[in-house]
Symmetry: C2
Subunit: 104 residues, 2 copies
DNA sequence: TTGATATATCGTTATTTATCGATATACTGA
DNA sequence: TCAGTATATCGATAAATAACGATATATCAA
């Protein structure tokens, strides 16, 4: 072996760490898992994720702020869906690598 | 659509979140990136990651504590290497999905 | 307009995590 | 044994994050 290591750049590492930090929360992982099926309004996400609506808003706001989700108001409901192509890949990675299995 | 969503279990989500939390740090990502090539002793890891040896120890301890790395003393050096098959997959996932590119 | 539903934000407190300096332990070679 | 190198741990402070209640805004239907 000769030459330098081929390493990820600092900028990329910082960006990736930020992304992982946002996703390093069980409820937010669950939200993505839910949204991988289709878009849902906030109260539905809250119900499916078994958290309160206001905490759900918080999580959604965080993820939207990082560009991971987008939202669209229709009537009094706001529908969220996955915006970042990172997320399905990440969840897929977790399923494959972290002993993550589907349950019914 | 009929039937329940197929969701990841709470236990799995907690485990995955813990794993991600550990990896959600630029220096620790760099450490894994370095160790993907081969094992290294602490001071080399510190040098390659441009951090102090004692902070490097901290990071290594954290990751080892989660079963992500293993270590082996040889002489006065302690060599660390990747233990978890999650990690290369995760880094690979970051390379592919998070706009992560190699630099020389 | 009023009441009900849905979503969002704000402020406080609690908890966790990071950083850094100091110090301790382990090993080697002289 | 001593000096020097390598690794590890500990304690304090700082910073970031989470959790929760309270309150605010938006929309619709009556």
């Amino acid at each position: 072996m000769a030459g330098k290591l081929s390493l990820l750049s600092i900028d990329v590492l910082n960006g990736a760490a930020e992304c992982l930090k946002v996703m390093a929360h069980p409820v937010r992982l669950r939200i993505v898992d839910v949204l991988m099926q289709k878009e849902f309004p906030v109260h539905e996400i809250a119900r499916l994720c078994e958290t309160s609506p206001d905490q759900t808003c918080e999580h959604l706001r965080l993820m939207k702020g990082r560009g991971l989700l987008t939202s669209e108001r229709r009537g009094r409901r706001v529908y969220y869906k996955i915006a970042s192509s990172n997320l399905p890949g990440l969840i897929e990675c977790l399923r494959k690598n972290c002993g993550v299995k589907k349950i019914r």
